[in-house]
C-alpha cells in the first residue's frame, strides 16, 4: 500500500481543515475505503480518521419529532435500536439486509451513504472507468453489465449505487447534515448522490472537506411504520448486493392509500425515488392493479444499459411485491432473512 498520512482530529473543525487538502479522504470504519486502497483504486495521501470525533455517534429525538442519527452510528447499532426499528421498520430491514453481520457492526451511517459503486470495472484498476479517470471511457458499457443501471444512466457511466440503507431513507425524505469550510448546511439525501450525466466522476454533492455529521428523518416518516417494507433480490441470501430492491411505505386510511412512498435500489447511480409511482398510488384503493400501474410508472423511463433488460421487468415486480407486503402490514418482528422474498417462509 502507498504511504499516506494518518490523522485523527480532535473535533469536527480540525477534521474539515485536515480533509480540505488535496488528496485527503475521510476514513470511517474503512470497510469500503480500505478495500479500494488495497486494490489501488483509491490512493489518498492522507486519511482523516473520523471515528473518534466526539458527539457523532448518537441517535437523538428532536423536539419537532424528527430523528437525528449521528454519522458515526454503526449500521448494526441503528438497526438493532428497538425504537428505531419500531418507527422506521423498512429502514431497519434495509440495513439488516446489507452486507454481513461483521460488516454492519463496523460500518458507519456516513460511510454507508458515501460508499462507492460496486461496478467491477471501477474496482479493476486495469479497466477504463470515467469515475476513476474522467474521460478514460467506460469499460462496463460493452462489458459485463447485467447488474448495471436501467435508470438515469449515461453513456459515460452505467454504474449503480449499492446502498440498501439509502433506499428507504430517500423514500422518507431523509436529510443530510453537512459541515464544511463554509459552515453547516443541509441537503435532502435525494440530492446527495448525482446521476452521472457527462461528469460521472462527480458522484455526490459534497465538496472537498465536506463532512457528513448527521442524517435526519423527518417527523412524518414515522407515520408509515404500520405499512413499510424493504424487499431485496440478490444472488445469495446474505452478503450480496441487491440485483434490484424496493422500499415501499404506505399510509392507509379508510381503505385508501393516503400517501405512498416508493424508492428503488440497484437501478441507478442513486437511490431512486419514484414520485410518479407515489402519485399513482395516492388516493387509490390498495390493490394489485394499482400497484402494477405504479410499477409501470416507476420504470417508465427505464432502458437497458446492456445485458440487463430483465432488471426493468424484475424491478416492476419487486415494486408490486413491496407494495403488496407493505399494504399487508409491517410484521411485528423483522424477519430472520431481512429483505428476502422468503422472509415469510416458516423456519427461514
Amino acid at each position: 500500500m502507498m504511504n499516506f498520512d494518518y490523522v485523527r482530529p480532535a473535533n469536527v473543525a480540525d477534521a474539515i481543515t485536515a480533509a480540505s487538502e488535496k488528496g485527503a479522504s475521510y476514513l470511517a470504519s474503512g470497510t469500503n475505503l480500505l478495500d479500494l486502497m488495497k486494490g489501488g483504486v483509491s490512493r489518498p495521501s492522507r486519511l482523516v480518521d473520523v471515528t473518534r470525533l466526539p458527539g457523532l455517534d448518537r441517535i437523538e429525538h428532536l423536539a419537532d419529532g424528527s430523528l437525528r442519527i449521528g454519522a458515526l452510528v454503526r449500521n448494526a447499532d441503528l438497526a438493532h435500536d428497538a425504537e428505531f426499528a419500531r418507527n422506521y421498520p423498512a429502514v431497519a430491514e434495509a440495513l439488516l439486509s446489507g452486507a454481513s453481520a461483521q460488516l454492519r457492526n463496523a460500518a458507519t451511517v456516513g460511510g454507508n451513504l458515501m460508499q462507492r459503486t460496486r461496478c467491477a470495472y471501477f474496482y479493476d484498476a486495469g479497466s477504463a472507468c470515467n469515475r476513476r479517470w474522467p474521460g478514460a471511457g467506460c469499460d462496463a458499457l460493452k462489458g459485463e453489465n447485467r447488474l448495471h443501471a436501467v435508470l438515469g444512466w449515461s453513456e459515460g457511466c452505467i454504474a449503480t449505487h449499492p446502498s440498501d440503507f439509502c433506499v428507504p431513507l430517500v423514500a422518507f425524505d431523509a436529510i443530510v447534515e453537512i459541515e464544511g469550510k463554509g459552515g453547516r448546511r443541509e441537503l435532502p439525501l435525494e440530492a446527495l448522490h448525482r446521476l452521472p450525466g457527462d461528469a460521472p466522476e462527480h458522484e455526490t454533492a459534497l465538496e472537498r472537506g465536506d463532512l457528513i455529521v448527521a442524517l435526519r428523518l423527518p417527523a412524518n416518516a414515522k407515520n408509515f411504520a404500520g405499512h413499510a417494507r424493504y424487499i431485496k433480490v440478490r444472488e445469495r441470501t446474505s452478503y450480496a448486493f441487491a440485483v434490484v430492491s424496493a422500499a415501499a411505505a404506505l399510509r392507509i386510511e379508510d381503505g385508501r392509500i393516503h400517501e405512498a412512498r416508493l424508492a428503488l435500489g440497484g437501478v441507478a447511480a442513486k437511490p431512486w425515488r419514484s414520485r410518479e409511482a407515489e402519485q399513482v398510488l395516492a388516493g387509490a384503493a390498495p390493490d394489485t392493479t394499482v400497484y402494477r400501474e405504479a410499477a409501470r410508472a416507476a420504470l417508465a423511463e427505464a432502458k437497458p444499459s446492456g445485458d440487463n433488460a430483465f432488471k426493468i421487468e424484475l424491478a416492476q415486480r419487486i415494486v408490486v411485491r413491496a407494495l403488496t407486503l407493505a399494504a399487508a402490514g409491517t410484521p411485528d418482528r423483522i424477519a430472520a432473512l431481512p429483505g428476502s422474498p422468503f422472509s415469510s417462509v416458516a423456519g427461514a
Partner: protein, 755 residues
C-alpha cells in the same frame, strides 16, 4: 442432522476397542479453535522479509518495461526480482518432465500468458512496502488480443483428458442406439470457469541454509513438491524439508506446488534471507489452477418405456495457451447408466487463462450436473418418474467395461434417501406444487458417483519398549480430518488404544504418503498404515513365538492375534503377553516396520470400483421475483467402510453444498475483451453463505467392499458434489418448468421464463 453410524458387523474387522468407525472429534480441533494450529503463513523465522508478486493486468502479450527504479526507491524495498534479475534455475519451468509437471511462470521471460500472471516480485522489509513496491513497477505492455471463451480458438481433439484417459470412448453401436430410440434428448449445457477459493491462500515461508531448504507451505502432495522444487533448484529432494501440518482447504489447488510458491523460494535465494510470500485473494485467480469452463452437448435416446438405447456426451473444454489439462467432463457418463451404446468425446480450445487443473471432482462435477440434468430431461420426455427412470437403467455392471462392481449399494442409497426425503407421490409435471406462502416448490434428484481410487503411500510403525506405538506418515490434512481418521486407523493397526499411540504426520521428513487427492488419501494412507501395523506386529510376534520363555512360544506368527497391546494365542486366548513384556524380555528397545498402500492391479482389472450416492433436493422459487431458495437436501451415500462418521458427514455435506453452489451460485466472470476476471474476490465470487444452506440430511449406507483395499475404504471427499448439483437444477425445473442449461442458474432466466 442425522448421523447413521456405519460400523461394519464383519467380524474380521471388528476388534475389541476398535477405533475405526467411531465418531471421534478432530484430534487437532482444540488447536484450531484456540488459534494454536500454525498454518504456513503464521510462521515468522528470524530475519524474515516479505515478497509480493506484481501481476499482469493483460492476458496476452509482453511486458515492455517495469519501473524497477521506482520500486527500489520505495523505503523498505530490498530487491526486485524480474526476468533480468533472478537466481538461476537448474531446470526450465516449462519442461514437461512428467504428466504432473505443469508449466509455471517463474519470470523466465517477458511473455504474458494470462491475466494475474507473475511478472515481477518485490521483496521488502514489510508487507506494505513490498505491496507498494509492486504497484510502483507500473508495467507497460505490448498487448495482444486476448482469446477468451469457449469459441476463442479452433477446437481440437485433445490427446488425453484428465490424467491419461482417452479423449473419446465408444461402447456399443452408437448409430444403432439412436436408430432404436423413440425418445430423444439433444441438449447443450454450459458450465462456467470456477476457482478453488480455499479459505487459506497459497503461502510459503522459505528459508535457505546452504543447499538445504526449509519450507512452510500448504501442500496436498509434499513428496511431489519436493521433487519439483529439487529439479528447479538442482538440489536433492531430501534437502527440502516441507512442513504442512494444516491446510485451510486445498480442493486440488495445492496438489502440485504452484508457480507463486516457487517464486517465494527464488526470492529467498535472491535476498539471502527468509522470505514469506502470500497470495492475495485476487492473485489466486490464475496461477494456481481452476475448473475449466465447459460446453456439453448430450444426446440421450430411449424407448417409450424409458429404457436407454444410447448416451452420447460431448464436451468442449478450455485449456491454457501454453499447457494441457483437459477436464474429463464427459467421462461422467461412463459408469452410471446401463445404456447399450455410450460415446463420450472431448474437444478443447486454447484460451488466455492460467492452466485449468484438478478442482474438487474434476470432470465428475462438470459432467455430473449435465448428465443428471439430461437424464431428468429424458425421464420427463418419457413421462416417467426420475427415480424410476434411473432404476430402470440401473447398471448392474460397469456399462463401458462390462466389469462387475467391487461393491455397489446404490439401490439402497436411492431407497433410503427417497424415503427420508418423502419422494413418493411427486407429481411428474413441473409447476404443480406450492407451499402455504404461494412459493413454487420443486423436487429434483441426481445420482452421485466417484471412482474409488488408490495412489501409493507409505507408513512406518514403531512399537516401543513401554508398549506404546508410533505411526508415521507424511499425510496431508486439508481440513478433511486426516489427522483424526488416520490416528484411528493407526490405533487399530497397532492394536492399541488411541491414548497409547502417537500419529506423526504433516511433514516431508516422514514416509511419503502420496498425494491427497482423488478422494483417495484415507484409502491409500490407511492401507499403508494397516500394512505397517501388521508388519510391526508380525515382528513382535516373531520375537515372542520364537522365544521359549514366552507363553506364545511355538504358536507361529499366524497363531497369534494382537489385541489391546497384547499378543494372544489364537488357540488359547488365556495365553498372552503384552508388547512391553515381549520387548523387555528380548532386550529390544523397539521394533519398527514399514508398510505401503497401493492399488491392487489384479483387483482393479477384475472390478469396477466406485462410490455411489443419491441426492434429493427441494427448492422453492418465488413465482414473480424468480429468487430461488434450496430448502432441503437429502443424500445417501455408499462409500465403503466409514472410518469416522463425523468427518465423513462433514465431507459429504461440504460436497453437497458445493453442488448447490455449482447449480445456483458459483461462476468466475471474465471480461471478454481483457481476459481479466472481474469478480476475483469473495464478495463477488459467490459461494453459498450459511443462510443459503438448507437443512441437510446425510445418510451413509453400509457397504462392505473386500476388493478396493484392505480396509474397504472408498473416498468421500468429492462425491458429494456429484448428484447434488444436478438434483438442485432438476428441482428448479420441477418448480418452474424452466430448464436452465447455463450454470449457475441466474435470476434473469427464471424471471423472464416465468413470464
Amino acid at each position: 442432522m442425522t448421523v447413521e453410524l456405519n460400523l461394519t458387523r464383519d467380524p474380521a474387522h471388528l476388534r475389541h476397542g476398535s477405533n475405526i468407525g467411531q465418531p471421534l472429534t478432530r484430534t487437532e480441533g482444540v488447536l484450531k479453535v484456540t488459534g494454536k494450529a500454525r498454518y504456513a503463513a503464521d510462521n515468522h523465522p528470524p530475519g524474515m522479509v516479505y515478497a509480493v508478486i506484481a501481476t499482469s493486468c493483460i492476458a496476452r502479450g509482453r511486458v515492455k518495461s517495469l519501473d524497477v527504479a521506482a520500486a527500489r526507491r520505495h523505503p523498505g524495498v530490498i530487491d526486485v526480482m524480474t526476468p533480468a534479475h533472478k537466481p538461476p534455475l537448474a531446470e526450465d519451468p516449462d519442461a514437461k518432465g512428467n504428466p504432473f509437471a505443469f508449466r509455471m511462470e517463474l519470470l523466465q521471460s517477458d511473455e504474458v500468458r494470462y491475466a494475474n500472471q507473475a511478472i515481477a516480485v518485490v521483496i521488502a522489509e514489510t508487507l506494505e512496502a513490498a505491496t507498494e513496491g509492486a504497484a510502483l513497477l507500473s508495467p507497460r505492455y505490448q498487448v495482444e488480443i486476448a482469446r477468451v471463451g469457449l469459441d476463442a480458438t479452433e477446437a481440437y481433439a485433445p490427446p488425453v483428458v484428465g490424467i491419461g484417459n482417452p479423449a473419446e470412448v465408444r461402447h456399443g453401436d452408437i448409430d444403432a442406439g439412436f436408430a432404436a430410440a423413440s425418445k430423444r434428448i439433444d441438449a447443450t449445457y454450459q458450465t462456467p470457469a470456477q476457482y478453488h477459493n480455499a479459505m487459506e491462500p497459497h503461502a510459503i515461508v522459505a528459508v535457505w541454509d546452504g543447499d538445504r531448504l526449509f519450507l512452510d507451505t500448504p501442500s496436498q502432495g509434499m513428496a511431489m513438491a519436493q521433487m519439483r522444487i529439487a529439479g528447479l533448484f538442482g538440489i536433492p529432494p531430501g534437502n527440502i524439508h516441507i512442513n504442512s501440518p494444516f491446510l485451510g482447504g486445498g480442493f486440488g489447488s495445492k496438489g502440485l506446488v504452484s508457480g507463486p510458491q516457487v517464486l517465494g523460494v527464488m526470492a529467498a535465494k535472491l535476498v539471502g534471507r527468509p522470505v514469506k510470500l502470500v497470495l492475495r485473494r485476487s492473485q489466486m485467480y490464475g496461477p494456481v489452477g481452476h475448473r475449466s469452463a465447459t460446453r456439453q452437448r448430450i444426446r440421450i435416446g430411449s424407448d417409450d418405456a424409458g429404457q436407454l438405447t444410447v448416451i452420447d456426451h460431448e464436451a468442449r473444454i478450455t485449456t491454457s495457451s501454453f499447457d494441457d489439462f483437459y477436464e474429463p467432463a464427459a467421462d461422467a457418463s461412463h459408469t452410471l447408466y446401463a445404456s447399450p451404446a455410450i460415446r463420450t468425446a472431448h474437444e478443447a480450445v486454447r484460451v488466455d487463462t492460467g492452466t485449468p487443473l484438478f478442482m474438487r471432482a474434476p470432470g465428475e462435477a462438470t459432467g455430473s450436473i449435465v448428465l443428471e440434468s439430461a437424464i431428468d430431461e429424458a425421464a420427463f420426455a418419457c413421462g416417467i418418474d426420475p427415480l424410476e427412470f434411473r432404476l430402470k437403467n440401473y447398471a448392474e455392471v460397469e456399462p463401458t467395461t462390462g466389469k462387475p462392481f467391487s461393491s455397489k449399494a446404490l439401490r439402497q442409497c436411492y431407497a433410503k434417501a427417497a424415503e427420508r426425503f418423502g419422494w413418493a407421490g411427486r407429481p411428474l409435471q413441473p409447476k404443480q406444487m406450492r407451499d402455504e406462502n404461494g412459493f413454487l416448490v420443486g423436487w429434483g434428484m441426481g445420482t452421485a458417483t466417484f471412482p474409488a481410487l488408490m495412489f501409493q503411500g507409505n507408513a512406518r510403525a514403531v512399537i516401543r519398549a513401554d508398549g506404546r506405538g508410533v505411526m508415521e506418515s507424511g499425510a496431508h490434512d486439508m481440513g478433511q480430518g486426516a489427522w483424526t481418521a488416520l490416528t484411528q486407523i493407526s490405533a487399530d493397526a497397532l492394536a492399541l488404544d488411541l491414548e497409547q499411540i502417537s500419529f506423526l504426520s504433516g511433514t516431508s521428513d516422514l514416509p511419503d504418503a502420496g498425494i491427497a487427492g482423488g478422494s483417495a488419501h484415507t484409502a491409500t494412507v490407511g492401507a499403508a498404515i494397516h500394512n505397517a501395523g501388521a508388519a510391526v506386529i508380525a515382528k513382535l510376534a516373531e520375537l515372542a513365538t520364537s522365544d521359549q520363555r514366552s507363553p506364545l512360544f511355538g504358536a507361529g506368527n499366524a497363531g497369534v492375534v494382537a489385541r489391546a497391546g497384547r499378543l494372544h494365542r489364537r488357540d488359547d486366548d488365556a495365553r498372552s503377553e503384552s508388547y512391553a513384556e515381549i520387548l523387555a524380555r528380548a532386550g529390544v528397545a523397539e521394533v519398527e516396520a514399514s508398510g505401503t498402500g497401493a492399488a491392487d492391479p489384479a483387483a482393479q482389472s477384475q472390478y469396477a470400483m466406485h462410490a455411489h450416492g443419491a441426492v434429493f433436493a427441494e427448492v422453492k422459487v418465488d413465482p414473480e421475483l424468480g429468487q430461488i431458495r434450496a430448502t432441503r437436501l437429502v443424500g445417501a451415500f455408499a462409500a465403503g467402510r466409514i472410518i469416522n462418521p463425523l468427518m465423513v458427514q462433514s465431507q459429504l455435506r461440504g460436497g453437497m453444498i458445493w453442488g448447490l453452489s455449482f447449480a445456483l451460485h458459483e461462476e468466475a466472470v471474465m471480461d471478454h475483451r481483457s481476459g481479466r476476471i472481474l469478480n476475483a474476490n469473495l464478495a463477488e465470487y459467490h459461494v453459498p453463505v450459511n443462510a443459503d444452506v438448507p437443512p441437510m440430511d446425510v445418510i451413509t449406507v453400509d457397504e462392505h467392499d473386500p476388493h478396493v483395499n484392505p480396509l474397504g475404504i472408498k473416498g468421500v471427499g468429492e462425491i458429494g458434489i456429484t448428484g447434488s448439483a444436478g438434483a438442485v437444477a432438476n428441482a428448479v425445473f420441477h418448480a418452474t418448468g424452466i430448464r436452465v442449461r447455463n450454470f449457475p442458474i441466474k435470476i434473469e432466466e427464471i424471471v423472464m421464463g416465468l413470464g
